[in-house]
Symmetry: C2
Subunit: 457 residues, 2 copies
């Protein structure tokens, strides 16, 4: 960094207030990574408390030429919040204002609000905020919006973007906008753009009534195809499960080793299903359609008798992360989405890749949307990490070959940027670049993410 840049950063820190800025190396080094990757140490970390602070950070970027990297809780799994060069990291964990308007069923939230807080605050009012990434106790709303995060409930209730009424954002020139979903859907364009088109400083979100009744079942199958088929049949019978999760054998075994809850380690696939609604009878009936579909497909079904047992069954799903952590010190979590009908073949092809590369691999995901998370476990001390990445590339190719997409919910980020040239044709990539250049001509917003470099043909 030049001496003059360094002086500008010092002056900025003095002006904004020392407490809102980190300039010391040990502090800055904490803001290099997210849930999956490690990058460059930022030149400065700014912790804005107001939209005006964000505007000033953008002006700092203009003055110094340093790029801006927005960051929430850094739970992202595609490297979106990781600096790829010397940058200004803009960390939103202090912008945590959250107001509820129960009459209009709205929440007005700053980006640093932790996802789970919204439903917690809405609960006493009989309301809830449905998008439920498994990371909801740590992830922030800003990160959820930037990734358009989903969760177990997304099949019935949709993803983060489906709940956005209005966004406040700061553009690459430091202008503040309040954008509604009218004329051109600019909020929709920002949602899922991973901080590369604008910085989100506030969101107005739709809340929905809490469904008073929920029922839960677990089903185990001798074959992955049976589980996929059961899901399709249940849906065809009219069931719209409010949660719908799949775990493969590797995943079942890992959880059983960890929890000793009596899961059948010989089973090839496990489904966890919730139905919910206003009427206990119809919720029950919907669950019975799912149970029937599972049994018809050769599944063994266990219906939770009460909320305690349901909670117990869902513990299996929530324990996947810690359980896998015991197998190898590190893992990379892939995230693809494929047509549900191709799932058996996709799961098998990915298993074969795991065997070929010699890495332990488990698969789970929000099966209603065909969203699958193949996780590769390895030891950075003894394993060749390049091989892991090579394998993940092959996993992405399996998805594309089956008519799927590169990212179900974790985004493209840094990690899948290079795969984009295989997923989209050149014309579509150029259309994406045209949007990027229109909203960020200087390339100041989260460079090196989402869009691959286009080499002239």
């Amino acid at each position: 960094m030049s001496v003059s840049t360094s002086r500008v950063l010092q002056e900025f820190a003095a002006r904004l207030g020392k407490g809102k800025v980190f300039l010391e190396l040990p502090q800055r080094r904490m803001y290099r990574y997210d849930g999956i990757a490690v990058g460059e140490t930022p030149a400065i970390v700014v912790l804005p408390e107001t939209t005006q602070d964000v505007v000033e950070a953008v002006q700092l970027a203009q003055a110094t030429g340093l790029p801006l990297v927005p960051r929430g809780a850094a739970s992202g799994l595609s490297g979106g919040a990781v600096p790829t060069e010397e940058s200004i990291v803009l960390c939103f964990t202090r912008m945590t204002r959250l107001e509820l308007d129960p009459d209009r069923r709205l929440a007005i939230a700053q980006p640093g609000v932790v996802t789970a807080w919204i439903s917690e605050r809405a609960k006493p009012l009989g309301l809830t905020y449905p998008p439920d990434p498994a990371s909801l106790r740590t992830s922030t709303l800003g990160g959820n919006l930037a990734e358009n995060a989903g969760g177990p409930m997304c099949f019935k209730k949709g993803v983060t973007g489906d709940y956005v009424v209005e966004l406040e954002c700061v553009d690459a020139w430091g202008q503040v906008h309040r954008l509604r979903r009218e004329a051109y859907d600019l909020p929709g364009l920002l949602i899922g753009s991973e901080g590369t088109l604008g910085i989100i400083t506030e969101a107005t979100l739709r809340l929905t009534p809490i469904p008073p009744h929920t029922r839960t079942l677990m089903a185990v199958f001798g074959e992955v195809g049976q589980a996929a088929e059961a899901v399709s049949r249940a849906i065809a019978a009219g069931a719209v499960p409010s949660k719908l999760e799949f775990m493969d054998q590797g995943c079942i075994r890992a959880v059983e080793d960890y929890l000793h809850m009596g899961l059948p380690v010989e089973a090839a696939a496990l489904l966890l299903v919730d139905t919910d609604g206003d009427d206990p009878q119809i919720v029950e009936e919907e669950l019975s359609w799912v149970a029937e579909a599972c049994r018809e497909c050769g599944g063994e079904v266990r219906v939770a008798r009460d909320p305690q047992e349901a909670e117990q069954l869902w513990r299996a799903r929530r324990s996947v992360s810690p359980a896998l952590g015991r197998i190898r010190p590190k893992r990379l979590n892939e995230d693809i989405a494929v047509p549900r009908s191709t799932l058996p073949e996709v799961v098998r092809s990915i298993e074969a890749l795991g065997r070929a590369y010699g890495f332990p691999l488990v698969q789970f995901g929000h099966i209603g949307d065909g969203n699958l998370h193949p996780n590769v476990m390895f030891d950075p001390e003894s394993d060749d990490e390049d091989k892991v990445w090579e394998m993940l590339h092959e996993v992405a190719r399996v998805a594309l070959r089956h008519g799927g997409v590169l990212s179900g919910e974790h985004g493209i980020g840094l990690m899948k940027r290079d795969f984009m040239t295989e997923a989209l044709d050149r014309e579509s990539l150029e259309a994406l670049w045209a949007i990027k250049r229109a909203l960020d001509p200087a390339g100041r917003l989260n460079p090196g993410k989402v869009l691959p470099d286009l080499v002239s043909p």
Copy 2:
């Protein structure tokens, strides 16, 4: 038109096939207008049958410098399909291929498909396509997508864009793209962009199961505020009506004069409400919550005993258009959306405007979303049409003053383009223009729509 342009058009017609092109004045004059406005006579009308025909039309625009105006059924109510200068009108009424994939619950449709056909074709499969603009028997899917059309069901089931999985489109350079809702949401950007950012040539749409049970009620109120309050209370009680329509006194009287079905002409407001679902009991119960809320707010409720009576009640709503046609030869249909809590005041303010300007005026709309259609009736022979437009401008201002938006569902088009400078601040308009310039730098796609000219400050 220059002689050379004229020759290029002739050659184009010969190449594409005479049947796909109109060059004669009487034919061309038929493509000047939509449901609300009349514009310039197009230089040529192209009726593409394939995506390749569309590509050739774009190339024709490039070769001649003539702008392109996409057009569906011309039922639009904001002048979107109206040429503002000598243009190539691209009329989609022959691109009507429609394929259903019941297993994946998808419809793959060309833009000329009439909205109602989709549900008609899906019905024998137990499926339906929920977006239901009142124009659904004439409007096309292309027009619905370009306007992001809503309908009575939008409160519960969402609008057109909520059902889009994938779009095929042709860009301003004649490149064909297949766009999914990943990375930057380009389909979402095209939806609602009124043909100004790209031309839609195919859509993959989500279908949903037909809810087997529906119940209907009508409620009348002495005051508009009571109706608005009843809706809020019913929703607070947990009801999510599948249809929810409001009519004011002027509207009730017009329909009664027309149908003589015994509507209470002294009532100030009328609600028509459907609930639907899988379980007859819960559908019934949901309707009873609505009935109770209506009664608590002073409404008089009539619950339809059977589908025939329900059909009868809904006739009142469907007859609004023809009924109003009898009052004055012409009417202009406004389209605003306001927070539901402001509805009584908004309705009153707009009534006052009608009195002040001396035009008969009625109001109706999808009240669940606060979507309101003030309709001004006039006689072009004797009334001053400028006054009508002036009044509509005031109506838009009422919406903006109450935190509402310029367009609930009919789009900005030609008609509300100039109001945009009052609805959005300059920075946001510049952001919209940045998108427009990125995707259509030569301004060839439907010029003069949506975006107001920005005069340098």
